[in-house]
Amino acid sequence: MNALSDLIETTDERLARAWAVLDTVLDPEVPVVSVRELGILRDVRVNADGLTVVLTPTYSGCPATELIERSVVDALVAAGLGPVQVLMQRAPAWTTDWITAEGRRKLRAYGIAPPGPADASQGVTMRFVPRVKATALACPRCESLNTERLAAFGSTACKATWRCLACGEPFEHFKPI
């Protein structure tokens, strides 16, 4: 016979379930990586009558931010973990360094070159002449380093456009910030 304690979910169990549910919430722009793997999901807390989820937005103007917030709430509520309160936390600012190893692997498999360390491009004096040469980037398809940047911007705020000179395929680069 089950004791009552076996039927009531403990705080730890509830948290574990919440994290498991959130692992299935994918980024709307790159629907192979989860918001957790991208480092957007910062924390989950159990409070008196539900959950508080802490999110850190990527770019100031990223149109996916509000959609991500909705997806997170919907997923948790559907799993019976609501009500859910979302806390948007700007500081410390999101950095691509928070993307997990698994997230990077998935980006590459999806055809997006993952970002290198963000520190390399921060805080140094900007050089225009000679133009700063972008660091060699491996083609996510054939792994050749014989690649070049086509454009500083791309299909979303977080990406730039590159091409591989070895296999001839264009690809996107997740910019390190």
């Binding site: 937005p57 770019y59 100031s60 103007g61 990223c62 149109p63 700007r90 500081a91 410390p92 600012a93 999101w94 921060q122 900007m126 225009f128 002449v129 133009r131 700063v132 086509l150 454009a151 500083a152 911007f153 791309g154 299909s155 705020a157 456009t161 910019k175 910030i177």
Partner: protein, 257 residues
């Protein structure tokens, strides 16, 4: 028709509006290129930078509304203020001109905003500091992009050099306004909210002038002319921007997508 709102004359609120409005109107002008830029990659670049700037403006205007304490949100501040209550630099409201004008203005603004966001990371207002921590990375990327283009135009073909030079003649007189100080700046500096914009002048010049030189361009001599957008007195172009930007919200109050 939605009536206009009046905004507090509190110097902290005004300081934030100068920043947020400059981002917003700059974004509005950049976004005009969507579908019109000389090449597809640049069309995307200009739209992306506009998007970053709109995001920064949203955050700053939201914070301005909170500090004001009159219940105004980002949308009310953006869409329901009249021209005199908009406090952006005159520079950003000038017509987008040709691609050279857009590139030069973007370089001037990205450099200013990068320096501002760098300082604002230490703001006594923790929310503003948090906004700055994100925005500084974006401004830096914009500056690099615009600077690369300025070199290419100034040190490019005869036609591009002519246009870059004309853009400099046109816009340079409006740069001086960036570094004019007044009571709003003094208040921000004394409370630790943010730097006097005038204190950024030296660094701004140190970043901009070498790029002009490399681009074979020469900054025109300083003139006595001072634009006054930061104090709400705008050029004749401002009313048209607001008409276009605000029309929908004025005609359909509270309308959302």
């Amino acid at each position: 028709m939605q009536a206009s709102i009046k905004v507090s004359r509190d110097p902290a609120v005004q300081y934030l509006l100068r920043l947020g409005d400059s981002c917003l109107i700059h974004a509005q002008r950049l976004a005009e290129w969507c579908g019109h830029a000389p090449i597809l990659e640049e069309d995307i670049a200009l739209s992306n930078m506009a998007l970053d700037l709109v995001g920064q403006a949203r955050a700053v205007l939201t914070r301005a509304g909170e500090l004001e304490g009159a219940g105004h949100d980002e949308d009310q501040l953006a869409f329901l203020r009249d021209e005199r209550d908009y406090l952006n630099l005159t520079l950003v409201e000038l017509p987008r001109g040709d691609f050279a004008v857009t590139v030069l203005r973007n370089f001037a603004m990205a450099t200013l905003l990068k320096l501002l966001w760098q300082r604002l990371q230490q703001s006594s207002d923790s929310e503003l500091a948090a906004i700055a921590g994100k925005a500084v990375k974006e401004a830096r990327y914009h500056q690099q992009h615009a600077g690369d283009w300025l070199l290419r135009l100034g040190d490019g073909t005869e036609e591009s050099a002519k246009r870059a030079s004309a853009a400099l003649e046109l816009l340079w007189p409006y740069v001086a306004e960036m570094f004019e100080s007044d009571a709003v700046d003094e208040h921000a500096a004394s409370t630790g909210l943010g730097p006097r914009w005038a204190d950024l002048r030296e660094e701004w010049m140190a970043e901009v002038l070498p790029v002009l030189t490399e681009a074979k361009l020469k900054a025109p001599a300083d003139r006595a002319f001072r634009s006054t957008g930061k104090t709400g007195r705008h050029s004749e172009h401002m009313g048209y921007i607001l008409a276009e930007m605000q029309h929908l919200q004025r005609a359909f109050p509270g309308g959302v997508w």
